[in-house]
């Protein structure tokens, strides 16, 4: 599918840059799996509305580009100096022509402005009744998602049900961030002391990437996120598991037991400990870092930069600031055995 609905104006392919543009768009349209963060393949009503508007503006821009750039090139070729040429005619202006080319762009801009304003008001409508409310909080450098009605708190992976309106209430715990999941909608800033809104209804099941879009310090590049659009049944099951207490420890698995013990016990000379910052229901109530009660059910850790498999968690626990420069979680000297036990324990927290 092409990223824009219609080719309204034939492109002047003579201009090489324009050709490059067309080829580029073709690539975008045909191979969107290669571009998981593309804005051109929306999977929600809001994303669709934006993309449709952008498509209109884009083709107007191509039209103006072709006309003006061609006029420039034609002028350059036609009036280049030729041998034996006399002084050109000294013209100073032409009122009618100048009025015409003042009005022409103004008319095109009005044509763009009308659907623009319409889309602005459409996107800013109040969320419909029955929308799923999610509080989104940006932290340096991870995302917290809180579903107050469902009693769910998670990090970096936002689960939403297919076909149900979702109303995000976005804020920040520290500096300004910006929530951006390109295939679902445009970005919305997360600002301390303020709450902004983003409303969309997802129309495709899948996992869609995003990341923080406002510079927020050292690891701005490492503040990624995923939006998982689930079918309503899958979402309901997910929410039920997340809101329940984590599963009891398997008392036959010594590694997991040692992991829990390590999680409770670890405290480095700088007085850093797991429990001071992280919540695991029934064990600790720390609030500086992500809630880990169900971390085993997440596919990523560390602001969405590492897979949550054993290798990923091990890499993180070895040296958090090495993965995420400036991270609040310091490097704590852990033995290989402690790390293996913690991995097993965290994986068991589904």
């Amino acid at each position: 599918m092409a990223p824009v609905p219609h080719r309204r104006f034939p492109a002047a392919a003579s201009w090489p840059r324009l050709a490059a543009l067309a080829v580029g768009l073709l690539v975008v349209g045909c191979a969107s799996d290669r571009f998981p963060q593309t804005t051109f393949r929306p999977v929600s009503d809001a994303g669709e509305a934006i993309n449709r508007l952008y498509g209109q503006i884009f083709w107007w821009a191509v039209f103006v580009f072709a006309v003006v750039q061609s006029a420039l090139v034609v002028t350059l070729i036609r009036y280049r100096r030729r041998p034996g040429q006399g002084e050109p005619k000294q013209t100073h202006g032409h009122t009618l022509v100048e009025i015409a080319w003042t009005l022409a762009p103004a008319v095109i801009l009005v044509v763009i402005a009308v659907p623009t304003v319409r889309t602005i008001f459409r996107l800013s409508g109040t969320p419909p009744a029955g929308a799923l409310q999610v509080e989104v909080t940006g932290h340096q450098w991870w995302w917290e998602f809180r579903y107050a009605e469902l009693g769910v708190v998670t990090a970096n992976e936002l689960h939403v049900p297919l076909g149900q309106p979702v109303a995000l209430a976005i804020t920040s715990a520290d500096v300004i961030h910006s929530f951006w999941a390109p295939r679902l909608s445009g970005k919305r800033d997360a600002m301390p002391g303020r709450t902004t809104r983003l409303v969309f209804t997802a129309d495709s099941v899948g996992t869609f990437l995003g990341q923080c879009a406002e510079f927020c310090g050292d690891s701005h590049a490492n503040m990624r996120l995923r939006v998982m659009v689930d079918s309503p049944a899958v979402f309901a099951a997910w929410a039920a598991r997340q809101s329940a207490a984590p599963p009891p420890l398997d008392s036959s698995d010594a590694l997991v037991l040692r992991g829990e013990e390590a999680f409770r016990r670890i405290r480095d000379p700088g007085n850093h400990s797991c429990v001071a910052c992280h919540t695991i229901a029934g064990i600790s109530g720390g609030a500086l870092g992500p809630n880990l009660s169900h971390v085993g059910s997440r596919t990523t850790i560390a602001g969405g930069t590492l897979r949550s498999d054993s290798a990923g968690i091990a890499r993180w626990l070895h040296d958090p600031p090495g993965v995420k420069p400036g991270s609040l979680m310091p490097r704590i000297e852990l033995t290989d055995d402690e790390i293996a036990a913690l991995i097993a324990y965290l994986h068991s927290r589904k």
Binding site: H94, E98, I112, S124, I176, W180, F215, H220
Partner: protein, 616 residues
């Protein structure tokens, strides 16, 4: 010493003063223009080097050429340097050299204030860049403590809570110091243009470069106070613990954004209007035709300056201003496209029917138009708030403003450099090397910035020091990096051209056959500019029969030119000292004493300057 300056051709009188001291104490607008140009170009090269390191880091995914922390310093300093230390002062170099010559004046209205502006600019630029090596002085444990919160320095990342080091202090104080230079210069040029025009140089006979510069000066004197206030708030938050941007105590992070962009958007026009003026000079000269629709080009420049004040919140659509504000700022932003489009049409119409001669200045002027069309059109795209929500803070915007500022402003500046070089130094730059420079740069900039439209819309945010390998962005980024290296090669060609220019033949008074007043006198112009003040009778004095009164090569009598003075430099050192004092705010007493010492030097500089004997 300099009350009478008589032409160098007369063996009986001494030539213009020479030596380092004569440059340090100079009050000659032409020399100050050269100082501005050379200094700003060195900062331009520094900012370009920063860009190259950025591009090398982003040439592939997950590269670690530089650390995250240093990368953030690099992009902050790249932006800050290019805006405040390169493009603005390069424009100022032309204001200085060209405006007095174009309006038929002996010098600017306040020659010593002019020198003061330059010295403050130089010292402010050095102050800001000293942060790259000042780490040990602050016990930072690493060499560089350069500003690292972006050239836009959004609160509250800049607060002491999130940026405890000296990085942000360097940035706040550096921009304050540079603001002093810009404001002093702007008042100087406004006064000069209003009061020192030669007889007959009416407003509507004024060359378009001088007109656009005039509009720019008003933008400077109105925009800089706004950023000054924003920075004072920030400085007070950081030094005295006030809470302007502290959310916990009732402050507001959006206050900064409004103040910053209320300055920041007019700043964009401060950067582009002088280049538009240059292009409006170059095109008629090499088309052998007057500018098409002179009055419309002038009025549209004024209109851009006025409407430029009503568009700032288009930088803030993602903050959720609400549908009414979004619609209003969207409309005003689209509105500004109209006078901009009119200028482009008038430039093309200037060439239409002309006899186009593609010398290097002309190539850059045409390149400006071509690239500015692209930057303008992508600008209209994010004038639409819903579309902007996908584009803002991505590489799409990086592409957009580099087409405007590099394809636009910098190409305009190069057009000016090649155009006025023979006037400034008496010898033109080599045209073949110039063309090579142009084509390399044109290819390089398109290769760098065009793919960024795609990388942005395909999901690449700005200001990230690394990106995941599976986003499909690797090839696009590699192309951008290759383009940046090519642009670097173009700059080497230019530098070689500059070095080789000493062997060029003398250019004569009017090598391009141009129409404006600066081409009526010798190249380089004598210290006094015009042997007698000209009387202007035409908008195109040198293309019109009897367009200007005769300007003899030898002055008929003694001419007063402003004497040299070291006082402006002393006053500038005072300002620098105050900045250094404020930088030490963690140590109260030494900081206070240094600030007071700097204030004393400043007061002494200005006092002795005011009472400096007029005739030496």
């Amino acid at each position: 010493m300099a009350t009478t300056a008589i032409p160098q051709s007369s063996p009986a009188v001494p030539a213009a003063p020479t030596g380092v001291w004569s440059w340090i104490t100079t009050t000659d607008h032409k020399r100050i223009g050269v100082l501005y140009g050379v200094t700003a170009f060195l900062f331009f090269l520094l900012g370009g080097l920063e860009a190259l390191v950025i591009r090398i880091q982003l040439g592939g995914p997950e590269q670690h050429v530089v650390s995250a922390e240093f990368y953030n310093q690099l992009f902050t300093m790249h932006g800050t340097t290019m805006v405040f230390l390169a493009i603005m002062p390069l424009s100022a170099a032309f204001f200085n050299f060209v405006i007095p010559l174009q309006i038929g004046a002996r010098d600017v209205a306040f020659p010593r204030l002019n020198a003061f502006s330059y010295w403050v600019f130089l010292l402010g630029g050095l102050f800001m860049n000293a942060s790259f090596v000042a780490g040990p002085l602050f016990g930072a444990g690493h060499l560089s403590v350069a500003p690292n919160a972006g050239w836009f320095g959004y609160a509250n990342l800049t607060s002491t809570q999130f940026s405890p080091g000296p990085n942000i202090d360097f940035w706040v104080l550096g921009i304050q110091i540079l603001g002093v230079a810009s404001l002093a210069a702007a008042f100087n040029f406004i006064t000069t243009i209003i009061n020192l025009r030669a007889p007959g140089m009416t407003w509507m006979r004024m060359p378009v470069f001088t007109w656009m510069s005039f509009v720019t000066q008003f933008l400077i004197i109105t925009a800089f106070p706004v950023i000054t206030i924003g920075l004072v708030f920030l400085l007070f938050d950081r030094v005295f613990g006030t809470n302007f941007y502290n959310v916990r105590a009732g402050g507001d992070v959006l206050l900064w954004q409004h103040l910053f962009w209320l300055f920041g958007h007019p700043e964009v026009y401060i950067l582009i209007l002088p280049a538009m003026g240059i292009v409006s000079e170059v095109l008629p000269t090499f088309s052998r035709k007057p500018l098409f629709g002179y009055a419309v080009v002038v009025y549209s420049g004024v209109l851009i300056g006025v409407v430029g004040w009503g568009v700032w919140a288009h930088h803030m659509f993602a903050t959720g201003l609400g549908p009414v504000a979004d619609s209003v700022f969207s409309a005003s932003t689209m509105l500004i496209a109209v006078p901009t489009g009119v200028k482009i049409f008038n430039w093309i119409a200037t060439m239409w029917g002309g006899r186009l001669e593609f010398r290097t200045p002309m190539l850059f002027a045409v390149g400006f138009i071509s690239m500015f069309i692209i930057g303008g059109l992508s600008g209209v795209m994010h004038a639409s708030p819903p579309a902007d929500l996908q584009q803002t803070d991505t590489y799409f915007v990086v592409a957009h403003f580099h087409y405007v500022l590099f394809g636009g402003a910098v190409q305009g500046i190069f057009a000016g450099i090649y155009y006025w070089w023979p006037k400034i130094f008496g010898r033109a730059l080599n045209d073949r090397l110039g063309k090579l420079h142009f084509w390399l740069m044109f290819a390089g900039l398109n290769l760098t910035f065009f793919p960024m439209h795609f990388s942005g819309l395909l999901g690449m945010p700005r200001r990230i020091y690394t990106y995941a390998p599976d986003l499909g962005l690797n090839t696009l980024n590699l192309i951008s990096t290759v383009g940046a290296l090519l642009t670097g090669v173009a700059m080497l060609v230019f530098l070689y051209n500059v070095l080789a220019s000493r062997k060029q033949p003398p250019a004569g008074k009017n090598p391009w056959g141009a129409a404006t007043l600066e081409w009526a006198i010798a190249s380089p112009p004598p210290a006094y500019n015009f042997s007698v003040l000209p009387t202007v009778k035409s908008r195109l004095p040198l293309w019109t029969e009897d367009g200007v009164s005769e300007i003899p090569d030898v002055p008929p009598g003694p001419i007063h030119v402003p004497p040299g003075s070291a006082r402006p430099l002393i006053a500038a050192v005072g300002i620098l000292t105050m900045g250094i004092g404020a930088l030490m705010h963690h140590h109260f007493l030494p900081s206070l004493l240094t600030v007071l010492g700097g204030a004393a030097i400043l007061v002494y500089g200005i006092y002795s300057w005011a009472f400096e004997p007029f005739e030496v």
